[in-house]
């Protein structure tokens, strides 16, 4: 009598991120199906997906729920196991007992061999086998494939674990964020990787005309256009039209032009979705800039030099355009992670900082990795204290410069569009 594996449910307890997979959805329009695996419905691994939180599952008995069937009700006991499984690990043999005229049985199978130490996304495969209890030979039962996301902790607000809420983490974003922050075992590392990725890897350029946002969030009460951010920026599908600075050397797809609200909001949402508590702060007024590298731009202390402008960097105390305000995220209210700009560092200083880092790294055989030196070499404003951040970015040397500064960062309630 053949045993059948009917379904596998990873998210079997929507109220528990400790013993069950998390509540997730694909995007604002589509849910992730539950049970995630159903033998009667062909699905690709991305469609049969689940997410787990490292922190909440640590030390817990995490189980999946499998539903087995036999063609007719008889009293019989099988043993079932699975090899493979990637970070979920192989499944030790469990008993599936059919008795009392039942042809269906549901069994919770623990995941004792899982490895949820770091952020990752992987398509895993289980090769299921079964045998009648007491028999020696195992028979193939099924091969199932799933996309599994491992994140650091339950994503903080605006993400939620309220069942059936559209703010459940989106797999359309996890597909990117888990890869970007892949390998991170803590929040600062995940936030650092996300910050650098936004700044470097999506062909984004700062709005040198008005510093206007394209994706909708600035302060509390507004919502970030996450759907278009994923499509236009992460997937690279920004429409060819409209264009920014049309007919000039600066011509570019308008939806690849951003300002710091876009960078800060996306950074916070993308970090939060992998469990790193990066919050959005609005700093108003901000002031005149020291020499920085706005996202996708060169050395600059005159950020709004315009489509036809040739003077992004003027004398350090010259009259120039300035940041009326600015936005950047902080990790749990502490240090700053700015994806919108880097500090401009002279080549000699950059090289010196790098060499010091390298020497220390080599002398200590890799035991001491002074990441702050390496980040300083690249001008990164990452994991940096507020006073240090302001010293590096805001120019207050002259009275007119000092008069334009003076604001403090204020925490904003970040949200994103779900309707």
């Amino acid at each position: 009598m053949a045993l059948q594996l009917s379904t596998i449910t990873f998210n079997h307890d929507p109220a528990s991120p400790s013993t069950s997979a998390l509540n997730i959805r694909k995007n604002k329009d589509f849910e992730v199906p539950i049970p995630e695996y159903d033998s009667s419905i062909p699905r690709t691994p991305p469609q049969s997906c689940a997410a787990y939180a490292k922190h909440e599952t640590s030390g817990q008995t995490v189980v999946i729920r499998a539903h087995f069937q036999i063609p007719a009700a008889v009293n019989i006991t099988y043993e079932v196991k699975a090899s493979g499984g990637g970070m979920l690990g192989h499944l030790d043999a469990v008993q599936v007992v059919f008795s009392g005229g039942i042809a269906d049985q549901v069994v919770d199978i623990p995941l004792p061999h899982r490895n949820f130490q770091k952020i990752q996304r992987a398509d895993i495969t289980w090769h299921w086998r079964y045998r009648k209890k007491g028999a020696s030979k195992w028979h193939p039962l099924a091969t199932t494939a799933h996309r599994i996301y491992v994140i650091l902790a339950v994503p903080p607000a605006p993400w939620t674990q309220v069942f059936a809420d559209k703010h459940n983490p989106w797999t359309d974003l996890l597909d990117w964020s888990c890869v970007i922050a892949s390998g991170s075992e803590d929040a600062p590392t995940a936030a650092e990787k996300t910050t650098k990725d936004i700044h470097l890897n999506h062909a984004l350029r700062y709005d040198i005309e008005q510093g206007a946002n394209r994706y909708g969030f600035r302060v509390t009460g507004e919502s970030f256009d996450l759907t278009n951010w994923i499509d236009y920026v992460l997937r690279g599908n920004a429409p060819i039209s409209p264009v920014f600075c049309g007919g000039t050397a600066e011509q570019y797809r308008d939806f690849w032009i951003v300002n710091c609200y876009d960078c800060a909001a996306s950074n916070a949402l993308m970090s939060k979705v992998v469990g790193a508590g990066l919050d959005y702060y609005f700093h108003d007024p901000f002031g005149y800039l020291n020499y920085v590298l706005p996202i996708g731009r060169g050395k600059c202390n005159n950020p709004f030099y315009g489509c036809l402008g040739t003077n992004p960097a003027v004398g350090p105390d010259d009259p120039r355009t300035y940041f009326g305000n600015h936005a950047y995220p902080k990790l749990n209210g502490g240090t700053n992670f700015d994806a919108c700009m880097r500090v401009w560092v002279p080549a000699w200083l950059s090289l010196l900082l790098f060499l010091i880092w390298l020497i220390v790294f080599i002398v200590t055989l890799g035991f001491v990795n002074l990441k702050n030196l390496l980040n300083a070499s690249g001008g990164w404003l990452i994991d940096i204290a507020q006073t240090d951040y302001e010293t590096k970015t805001i120019d207050v040397d002259q009275p007119f410069e000092a008069a334009a500064a003076g604001g403090v960062p204020a925490l904003q309630t970040l949200d994103f569009r779900v309707v």
């Binding site: 929507p14 109220a15 959805r25 329009d29 589509f30 849910e31 199906p33 469609q47 309220v162 069942f163 059936a164 809420d165 559209k166 709005d207 005309e209 008005q210 510093g211 206007a212 946002n213 600035r218 302060v219 009460g221 507004e222 919502s223 256009d225 278009n228 429409p239 039209s241 409209p242 264009v243 920014f244 600075c245 049309g246 007919g247 000039t248 011509q251 308008d254 300002n259 710091c260 609200y261 108003d284 007024p285 901000f286 950020p303 709004f304 489509c307 355009t321 300035y322 940041f323 009326g324 305000n325 600015h326 334009a404 604001g407 949200d415 569009r417 779900v418 309707v419």
Partner: protein
């Protein structure tokens, strides 16, 4: 200068104590029918519903036909709950720039151009036609960002404001029946019930010019994976009566709304 300060200087706080009627007749922003924008054509459009204070937002990117660098970004926001929300939307629009603007550059659209119930405008250079203009007429915000098209900003705003001003107003919006809910009630009969975490099929909505937006007090309204035009309600874990709201809009800015009550048990 923080936005709050120049808004205060122009009398924003006084307006917060006042009320205005609601736009009672739809307005369709069609660049081809606006004399000031006759040289421009719409190259991109975006329509969405803001959830926190219900507002239908329609954004249009207009590109000049022959001057590649000239473009206009027009935002029309209809605030369902009235004038106060429109004023708040104006403050947000005016503040949506990282570029610093000097206080002297910001003028009142009411005093300078005689448009809007309240409005602000400025040129980044501090002189000449405004690059940015935002005004509120009743419960509608008009926001314009121009790139090398400042000479058009005010005339465009005047035409839109005139059209808004001349439209019928109303004191309150009422619900309009939508076939989706009518059919559903007919099909299910009596009180609609669904178990906690259960699924209730709502029906199919056509893809086309109409845009549909669902809000649910608990749970969510989703598309079927294999039939994206079909929608269903997924109940949450909150039991009791839950409200599903459907907003829909065609070419204009005035949405219609219908509601449905579902008993989650």
């Amino acid at each position: 200068m923080p936005v709050k300060q120049f808004l205060e200087r122009l009398g924003y706080d006084e307006l917060l104590k006042q009320e205005r009627p609601l736009l009672g007749e739809n307005y369709i922003f069609d660049a081809t029918k606006i004399a000031a924008a006759k040289e421009f054509k719409a190259v991109h459009e975006n329509v969405f519903l803001e959830e926190s204070s219900i507002a239908l937002v329609r954004q249009a990117h207009l590109q000049h036909g022959s001057k590649a660098h000239s473009s206009l970004h027009v935002t029309l926001t209809l605030c369902w709950n009235g004038f106060q929300d429109a004023l708040a939307a104006l403050a947000r629009f005016a503040g949506s720039f990282e570029r610093g603007v000097s206080a002297e550059s910001v003028v009142s659209t009411v005093r300078t151009y005689e448009i809007g119930d309240f409005g602000v405008a400025w040129a980044w250079s501090g002189k000449g036609d405004p690059d940015v203009l935002a005004l509120v007429r009743n419960n509608v915000l008009l926001g314009i960002r121009s790139h090398d098209a400042a000479e058009v900003t005010v005339s465009l705003a005047k035409e839109v404001d005139r059209a808004l001003r001349n439209r019928r107003t109303t004191d309150a919006y009422s619900d309009t029946s939508h076939n989706l809910f009518v059919e559903l009630k007919k099909r299910e009969g009596g009180t609609l019930k669904v178990p906690s975490a259960g699924k209730l099929s709502l029906g199919t909505l056509p893809e086309g010019e109409s845009k549909f937006f669902f809000l649910a007090s608990s749970g969510s309204v989703n598309r079927e994976a294999d039939k994206p035009q079909s929608w269903y309600y997924r109940a949450g874990t909150d039991k009791g009566p839950q409200v599903i709201r459907l907003y829909w809009v065609d070419a204009g800015i005035l949405p219609k709304r219908d509601g449905l009550i579902v008993e989650v048990y």
